[in-house]
Structure formats: C-alpha cells, structure tokens
C-alpha cells in the first residue's frame, strides 16, 4: 500500500479528527461526543454544586445571613434542575457514548448526526435556564417539581423554564433512541443480548425508561405553559382542573426518572467489582432481570411521593407495597455484588473504592427509602430534611460515586495513562467522609421536624446544620482534587497504561489499544469467553 495512488486514497480517507473547533461543533465521533458530554456535565456539576454551597452557607446558622428567601428558593430549584438534567443525566450519556460502542464491538453510535444534535442542544438549554437568574422576578423558585399553582407565580422566567425543560427532554429522547438502536442493531457477531456487559444492559433499560417518561414530562410542562398563557385549565381549579393532577403526571415521569439516574450506576459497579475481585460477576442474568423488574416497578409507584395530598386507604396501601417490592430486585443486585466479592482476590484501587462506597452508602439511601415508603410514617417525614437526606444518599454516593468510579476505571483507556492513584484514593476518602458529614445529620434534622426548602430554621436545629454545612464545603473542595487528577491524566502525566489497563478485566473495550484509537472496531470483533458475559 505504498503506491502514490494508495497514499492519496489514504489522505482522502483520513480517519484522524478534524483540527480546531470543527472537530467539536460538527462532531459525529462517539468518543468526541462522549468527551463533550462528560466535560459539560462536570461544568454543570460545579455550577449546581456552587448553588448547593450557597444553600449550605445560608443554613450554617439560624436566621437570615447572606441571601433573601426568594433567592434561596431559586437556588434550591436551580441546584436540583442543574444536577438532575445537567450533571447526572448527561454524564451517564457521555459514558454511554464512549463505552457502549466499544463494549459491544461497534464502530460508532448508530445515529452519529443525531448524536451531535442531542449534545449541542444541552448547552443551549442550560444557557436559557441559567439566563433566568438575571430576569425580572428571578429564576424559577418553585422547586424542581414545578408544582402549580406555585410555579405559575414565576416571573418572566416561566416560559424560559418550560422551554429549557423541553430542550433537555428532546436531548434525552434523541440520546435514548440512539442508545437503543446502537445496542439492538450494532452488536458484534455472536453477542446475543444476554452476553452483553451489565453496563450496556442497564443503559438499554434506562434508554427505554427515558423514551417512556421524558415525553410525559414534556406534556406536563406544556400543560403548565398553556394554563399560564393560553387559557386552558388543566391544573386550575376555577376552570375545572386540578392542581393535584400535575403531581400525578409529574411523578409518573419523576419516579422512573430516579431509576434513569441510578441504573447506569448499577451497570458501572457491575463492571468494576468483578474486575477488582478477579471473578466474573455473580448472577449476570439475574442482574438483567432485576434491573428490568426495577424498571417495570418504577411505573407503578409514583404516588408514594404524594402520600400527603389526601389519598384513599386502598391507594396508600397499593403504592406503599408496590414501593417496598422494589427492595426485592434491588436486594438481588446488592447480594450479587457482595457474592461477586466473596472469596475474590480483591484489590482496592480508586474505582473499586468508589464502587464499595457506592455499595455501602447507596444501600443506606435505599433503607431510608423503605422507611419513607411506609405511608403512615411518610406523613411525618414528608417534606422534611429526612427526605433530603434520603435522596442525596442515593444520588451523591449513588449516582455520583458511580460516575466517579466509571471515570477512574475507564480514564486510562481514554487517555492511555493512569491517573495518580494516591490522589485518586485521597479524593475517594475525602469525598466519602464529607458526603457523610454533609448528609447523615440531615436524617436527624428531618426526624426532629426541620422542613426542607427553607432559608431559616429554629435554633434547635443549629448544631446539625452547621455540621452539614462544613461537610458540604469540604465535599465541594474535594471535587477540585478530582478535576486536578483528571487534568493531570489527560495531560498524560501518569504511567503509561497497557491495553488491558487492569488485571485481566472482561470485555471488548480492553481489547483495543490505550488510548483508544479515534476509530475502533471498524471490522466487528469475534467475541471469546474473555469478552463475553453470561
């Protein structure tokens, strides 16, 4: 292939990335888009985190110190919207983009141009959402759940809130279609569905959840929009509507949404724990069925968010027991992870530490979830800091630790260099200690009766609140260490990583060189016992 003709042809068929901004704006390569998603979500993580620090600074002591209540409410609302739709969800989509084609032996995502759109919509959506902070009436302050009639009192920001949610939904739907089509149509020969790695499986289920519920959220906010501007009365009692209806529709989206944020993390730890236990995943197929059961059950438990709106006894019983039923497949998962480690030759590199932290702390969040599922008890806990403690335990050491574990686990594959292991471990220990210092006292605050979403509180809550605030600032600063570790790794400061990176990990992504070339698996690989699951 050294003839001039062949060279010219090779030039024309250049497979390296385009130089400059075009590479990113016109990106269709799954690795480039994955990288952009991950960077975007990291930026959003810090934006949402700064808002959390404003909240915790104000709550450091009783009384109003730094911000006025309306701004405080804007911070709680924006923190949630940014963390849910800007940080956690795009980060998992970024991982899906990077890893799914490499894990199933596909050359790229099935719909690369749509992939470009689904990413570039996000910066637009969040610019719109962020701009509401500077509008008359301020940013949305009704809580991320956008309950009417409160949300209808939002100032000029209201239509911008709705349209930004529409755009986020659009991006998620396109991303989900892309993931499903890629997984269904582009797997390597002989990779049957049950031979797929768990991360791919959990993402397939997540993508179906996204397709099923993001349009429902879009519908709900559209109804808010028409109620406000076009004279409809979906949620206005005077016109025959019902504000509680919004809660039903919102939580029909909202509960599957929490599994959208956790299932991919389940997939991540299902990859990492076997690698560092040097054993195959225990019960791969039962993991698949457990994840599917969780996804199904997530559609029939929504009203457990609404036990206090006034529901008949039969309704409360149904939603209480259906919710508790979710503990069964989740228990299967926790059992399988534990059984995977049983008698394994375990080592504790940073990804494994984050996975173990996930396992312990997510389970604590799961248990407080079971407490909240008890309808008569929930009436006491409802809208208290106990709820705040619960969902932060499943989201921070749950979803976020899952993401951190994934980044440490696959970063040597992405950059071709190891991260600094000591700093990684330090990041883990600081994060784990501070996350508990931040959120554990909130259980006590909630049980003692402190309501959520308030800028001021009774002096009896002062001690636990100041502890939580110290923890939050510590957690926030610890994440700067993460950024440093990532930057050092991207700048190739660490040891060179081998193709396998870890000690005989399973999966196709470890059969390509490190760093992963711009194009991988242009011819589909044959899978062997080392690269298939189940």
């Amino acid at each position: 292939m050294s003839s001039a003709v062949a060279d010219a042809h090779a030039d024309h068929d250049d497979h390296g990335p385009v130089k400059g901004w075009r590479r990113w704006l016109y990106a269709t390569n799954h690795k480039d888009i994955g990288t952009m998603y991950l960077i975007f979500s990291l930026v959003m993580f810090f934006a949402g985190g700064s808002m959390a620090l404003i909240i915790r600074t104000e709550l450091f002591s009783p009384g109003l110190q730094f911000v006025i209540p309306s701004f405080f409410n804007q911070m709680t609302t924006m923190h949630a919207l940014i963390m849910v739709f800007g940080a956690v969800m795009p980060a998992f989509v970024g991982l899906a983009n990077w890893m799914i084609p490499m894990m199933i032996g596909a050359p790229d995502m099935a719909l690369p141009r749509m992939n470009n759109w689904s990413f570039w919509i996000l910066p637009v959506a969040f610019s719109i959402l962020g701009s509401t902070l500077f509008m008359s009436g301020g940013a949305p302050a009704s809580g991320w759940t956008m309950y009417p009639p409160l949300v209808l009192q939002t100032g000029d920001a209201f239509p911008f809130l709705i349209f930004s949610v529409h755009l986020m939904g659009l991006s998620s739907i396109m991303g989900a279609i892309n993931v499903i089509v890629t997984i269904i149509n582009m797997r390597a020969p002989d990779m049957t569905l049950l031979k797929m790695p768990m991360f791919v499986w959990t993402w397939l289920i997540t993508a179906y959840l996204l397709l099923a519920v993001m349009p429902v959220l879009a519908g709900a906010v559209t109804m808010l929009l028409t109620d406000q501007f076009f004279g409809t009365s979906f949620f206005l009692a005077a016109g025959g509507g019902d504000p509680v209806m919004f809660q039903h529709i919102f939580w029909f989206f909202g509960h599957p949404e929490v599994y959208i944020m956790i299932l991919p993390a389940f997939g991540v730890v299902s990859e990492i724990i076997p690698t560092f236990s040097r054993k195959p995943l225990f019960g791969h197929d039962s993991m698949v069925y457990a994840a599917s059961s969780i996804a199904f059950l997530s559609f029939i438990v929504w009203a457990h968010h609404m036990f206090t709106v006034g529901m008949p006894l039969t309704g409360q019983m149904f939603f209480m027991f259906a919710t508790m039923l979710i503990a069964v497949p989740t228990g299967v998962k926790v059992f399988n992870w534990t059984a995977t480690m049983w008698k394994g030759a375990m080592t504790f590199e940073t990804p494994m530490l984050f996975s173990l932290g996930f396992l312990f702390l997510f389970t604590i969040g799961g248990f407080s979830g079971l407490m909240l599922a008890i309808a008569p008890a929930d009436i006491q806990y409802h809208d208290s800091y106990f709820v705040v403690a619960h969902f932060h335990y499943v989201l921070v050491p749950g979803s976020i630790f899952g993401l951190m574990a994934a980044v440490y686990y696959w970063m040597p594959k992405w950059t071709g260099h190891y991260y600094n292991e000591s700093l990684g471990k330090l990041h883990f220990w600081l994060s784990t200690i501070f996350v508990n210092v931040t959120f554990f006292p909130m259980h006590f605050l909630g049980l003692a009766g402190m309501p959520r979403r308030i800028p001021d509180y009774s002096t009896q809550f002062a001690d636990f609140n100041s502890i939580a605030s110290v923890g939050a600032i510590g957690f926030g600063l610890s994440q700067l260490l993460f950024v440093y570790v990532v930057i050092q790794c991207v700048r190739k400061k660490g040891t060179v990583a081998s193709q396998e990176v870890w000690d005989s990990p399973r999966g196709l992504e470890w059969t390509v060189p490190s760093p992963a070339p711009y194009h991988t698996f242009e011819t589909p690989p044959r899978i062997s016992s080392d690269t298939s699951f189940s």
Binding site: V181, I184, N185, P524
Partner: protein, 204 residues
C-alpha cells in the same frame, strides 16, 4: 448491518422511527392521563370529587333514625375579591331527606365579576353519596359591582352512606374566572387576597 450471528430483525432507520413514534405516543399519553384521572376520580369519588351536574334519582326513603352532621367550609381563592360564607356553620340531616343550604357571597370590587365555586366533600368515601339536586356551583355566578347574592344548594345524602360516617364536610372554594382570562390584570392586584381574612390559597 455488519451483524452475522443473528438475522437482521429491523433496519436502523425503521427502528429509529418506531422509537420516535413511541416517544410521540408517550407525549400524547401524558395528555391522556388528564381525562383518565378525571374519569377515575369521578367513578370512585377519590379526592372528594362530586358530580358536577344535578342528580336525577331523587326518590329516597327518609331514614329518620339516623342523624348526620353536615359541616360547611368556605374558602376564597387567593386572587378572588369576594366575601363568601355559609348562612349556618353546620346542620343536622337525615339520610334520604331533601335539604337546602344557603351560601352568601359579596363582590368586594366596583367591577362586574364572574365567579366559579368548586365543591369538595370530605371524607372522600362520602363524596359519591352526597347528591346535589341544585347547586350554584353548576354554573358560573355573575356579580354586579358590590352585589351580594344568596345562593342555594339543594341536596340529598344517600341512605346507603356507610355506617361509620357520621359527619360530612362540604367545602366550596370561590374562584375568580377572570384569573383564567385576564390573568395579568389580576396578578397586578394581589392586595385583594391580603386584605381579606379567611382567604387562602388552595395550594397544597
């Protein structure tokens, strides 16, 4: 495409469009939830929802042995400029008997106003047994500037009402229908709500 192990079940394009159709269908389903919930609550009486039209099967035997306490609650929505109360706080009724209660509302503004009252019954198990024969809540009510109106509601409590219920609360919330059409003007005058005692938002 490049898959050889399994038969190609569906092309990428066809699958993408099917998934897109699923998303569009779910968008529609979100709207469909509204009539579904309404029908569900109408049938079951969940949420204290009572019929929005006159009951027709009025032939009932009056059960003189059973006494029920009927309490009235009146609420004015945040932006509605009315004074609104019932003529009595409560009354004693027998299941099966026809009764009438009177509610009084006064327009506090010097403008022509239209109101809509929204009823609710608690406990919600009683909702489907509380039958209104005539109610000011069936239609909107027009008020001249400063006008005071007496508005009747005629009703029967069905004698099939479960035995364990001895008290029924009938609640009316008064809404300004202009809130629906001329909402910006109303938002500009929120002092109506502040100047009224006993009024509060129906937000939960």
């Amino acid at each position: 495409m490049q898959k050889s192990g399994q038969p190609e079940p569906i092309s990428t394009k066809a699958l993408s469009f099917r998934l897109l159709a699923l998303a569009v269908a779910m968008f529609g389903f979100g709207f469909l939830l509204v009539p579904i919930y309404d029908a569900f609550c109408e049938v079951t009486g969940f949420g204290g929802k009572t019929a929005n039209s006159a009951a027709v099967d009025v032939v009932e035997m009056v059960d003189q042995d059973r006494e029920l306490k009927l309490e009235f609650v009146t609420t004015v929505n945040q932006y509605a400029p009315w004074e609104f109360h019932s003529s009595v706080d409560s009354m004693t009724v027998h299941p099966g008997g026809i009764y009438e209660a009177t509610f009084i509302a006064r327009n506090l503004t010097d403008k022509h106003k239209i109101a809509q009252a929204v009823p609710s019954v608690a406990p919600q198990q009683a909702a489907s047994f509380f039958k209104k024969l005539e109610c000011f809540c069936f239609t909107t009510q027009e008020f001249l500037p400063g006008e005071e109106k007496e508005m009747p509601v005629r009703f029967i409590v069905d004698s099939d009402l479960p035995d364990y219920i001895d008290t029924i609360t009938l609640s009316y919330t008064f809404f300004d229908t202009a809130r629906l059409t001329d909402e910006s003007a109303e938002m500009a005058h929120p002092e109506h709500s502040a100047s009224k005692t006993g009024s509060h938002n129906v937000t939960r």
